[in-house]
């Protein structure tokens, strides 16, 4: 009974950590440019698929991981340069949402041409030997995912609070005009934001590829769940996004375990609807007044 609960909890936290990473990608782009990037899930897919195909081509895992992350960063920067920047002046929420949706359909189509439509899996980073924790059984990859997420969050905190370029991004998020007045290149910040989001997406995609199959379509659900994490966190802080992701992951795992595995994917969206209806600003968001 207790072991079962722990099992669900651990797998929920693990999957939730990847939702959180995807959500952080959304969050960084949102902060840099006030765009919700619906192509965020495609970064996850590109990361996972590139790594799979590099490994298949004979590359050692670390090289494949680096290659996959670089590929996603490259795609992120291209997306910003070619699709977002030309349209930013219209700055209408609907318009920008639609551009990124178009980009995600395009990237998915591209992936199915460049690679294939099959399901793939990455070998586990350090074996499949199960680990027993108080009766719950997990594979080592779970530790990689949780550890990876923790390292990334720490690194991002350091970057945004201590490194000048990161501080410039934080400043731009608060007030783009003021940031420009003190000499921050807002265009560079935006480009960097998309690159970072590509990196986070790719890392999430690579970390989860050994325990979940990846395919050209894998980005849709992961992207949407990451968006859930973001909205649950209320677009407020990076920490809230990660917590939002873990809440979504745990709720999903518990729901699938105790209620109905068929409705697993629905659980995230039911939570998000309830939260939006009763707490329109998310769990951690501040109640703001609209400026007219």
């Amino acid at each position: 009974m207790y072991a079962e609960f722990l099992q669900f909890l651990l797998s929920g936290i693990t999957v939730g950590a990847t939702y959180g990473l995807v959500g952080l990608g959304f969050f960084i782009i949102y902060n840099a440019s006030h765009v919700i990037n619906f192509a965020q899930g495609e970064f996850v897919m590109i990361g996972g698929m590139t790594a799979v195909f590099l490994v298949d081509a004979g590359a050692p895992l670390p090289i494949a991981v680096v290659g996959a992350v670089l590929a996603a960063i490259f795609v992120g920067i291209l997306l910003e340069k070619l699709a977002i920047e030309p349209a930013r002046k219209s700055a209408d929420v609907v318009t920008l949402i639609i551009i990124t949706i178009g980009a995600s359909i395009f990237l998915r189509g591209l992936a199915q041409v460049v690679w294939d439509k099959d399901f793939h899996s990455l070998p586990a980073f350090s074996g499949e030997e199960p680990i027993n924790i108080f009766g719950a059984v997990i594979v080592p990859q779970y530790l990689w995912i949780m550890g990876g997420a923790a390292v990334i969050v720490a690194a991002l905190w350091y970057f945004f609070n201590k490194v000048p370029m990161g501080k410039a991004m934080t400043a731009t998020a608060y007030n783009p005009l003021a940031a420009r007045l003190v000499g921050i290149r807002v265009k560079t910040v935006m480009m960097l934001g998309f690159g970072l989001a590509g990196m986070l997406g790719a890392i999430a995609g690579i970390l989860i590829a050994p325990i979940a199959f990846t395919s050209y379509e894998a980005g849709i659900m992961l992207g949407l769940k990451g968006f859930c994490a973001l909205i649950l966190g209320g677009l407020s802080t990076g920490r809230a996004v990660i917590i939002g992701g873990i809440i979504v992951g745990v709720a999903e795992a518990l729901g699938a375990g105790y209620l109905s595995s068929e409705y697993k994917d629905a659980i995230a969206f039911i939570i998000i609807l309830l939260v939006l209806i009763f707490m329109p600003q998310g769990l951690f968001g501040k109640k703001g007044a609209d400026r007219v």
């Binding site: 949102y30 919700i36 699709a83 030309p86 349209a87 219209s90 209408d92 929420v93 609907v94 318009t95 949402i97 639609i98 551009i99 949706i101 178009g102 980009a103 995600s104 359909i105 395009f106 990237l107 998915r108 189509g109 591209l110 199915q112 041409v113 849709i220 949407l224 968006f227 859930c228 909205i231 677009l235 068929e262 409705y263 994917d265 629905a266 969206f269 039911i270 998000i272 609807l273 939006l276 209806i277 329109p280 609209d290 007219v292």
Partner: protein, 319 residues
Amino acid sequence: MTWLFNPRTGGLLVLAAVIALLPSILPNSFYFDIAIRVGLNAMVCIGLNLLIGYAGQISLGHAGFIGLGAYGSAILTGQFEWAPLTAMFFTAAMVALLAFFLGRPILKLKGHFLAMGTLGLGIIISIVLNTEAKWTGGPDGTMVNPLTLGSYEVYGEQVWYWVVGGVLLVSVWVALNIIESPIGRALRALHTSEVAAETCGVDVARYKLLIFVVSAVYASLAGSLLAHYGGFVTPVDADFLKSVELVTMVVLGGMASVYGAVIGAAILTVLPQLLTAFEDFEHMVLGLILMLTVIFLPKGLLPSLVARLKRKPKAEEVA
């Protein structure tokens, strides 16, 4: 030329003429089939455009309402042996009720939160349709009885063409009348600024909800017709990508333009047929079209075209 640009006289006449003359150039039933699908998609888009284009509220879940309409008709006529028209209108009424109760809290949201809310609603509907196999047949879908009016059975592409053509004309006419009525003015006002509209005495929440319900009913009716026409319905008709496709049609044709929605639906329904030879590239091309339109023609095809013809770039005047 001005009468031609008056949507309620010239526009409707042109559309009627196109619908009447099109069969003479359609070579076989394959093309009739495409035309029928254009008509049904156009119907959904006209409703969706009232919401997105006029009221400025995005919905990423409208395919869910198509699915509910389609499955409502399928289940009521199949398992309960209701008459198709009764089933169709009862389903539409139920969808309206659902949209009414869910729309109230969801439409309080703005921007990204609204996109998430409607997206979640659509995905939940699609998952339910996929899962409740006892009623819906699950992912494999279910058979649908043919559309009958009394003892007459609507059968064959040629007959269906006229049915859908007629329904489309009525849909356009109703939408144009809504836009020209005080409701339409209220919608445009709240699109520009909800606070300003509220200050002028417009009940913003009520009008947003009203148009959300109307657009859901449009989608439900089109879904019912689609189910009867195809004789088969699967959850694919209700999934997230279908919702995205609908939004694309509206944006491509032109937001806040009823005929634009029709044109957008026509292009994006016909295009995949033309691209079947390059099936693998279909998604790439669709995504590219979507991005390029929004970047270079943010007002959409028809309003941009009309603005150029009139040499007065005021898209607001185009309905």
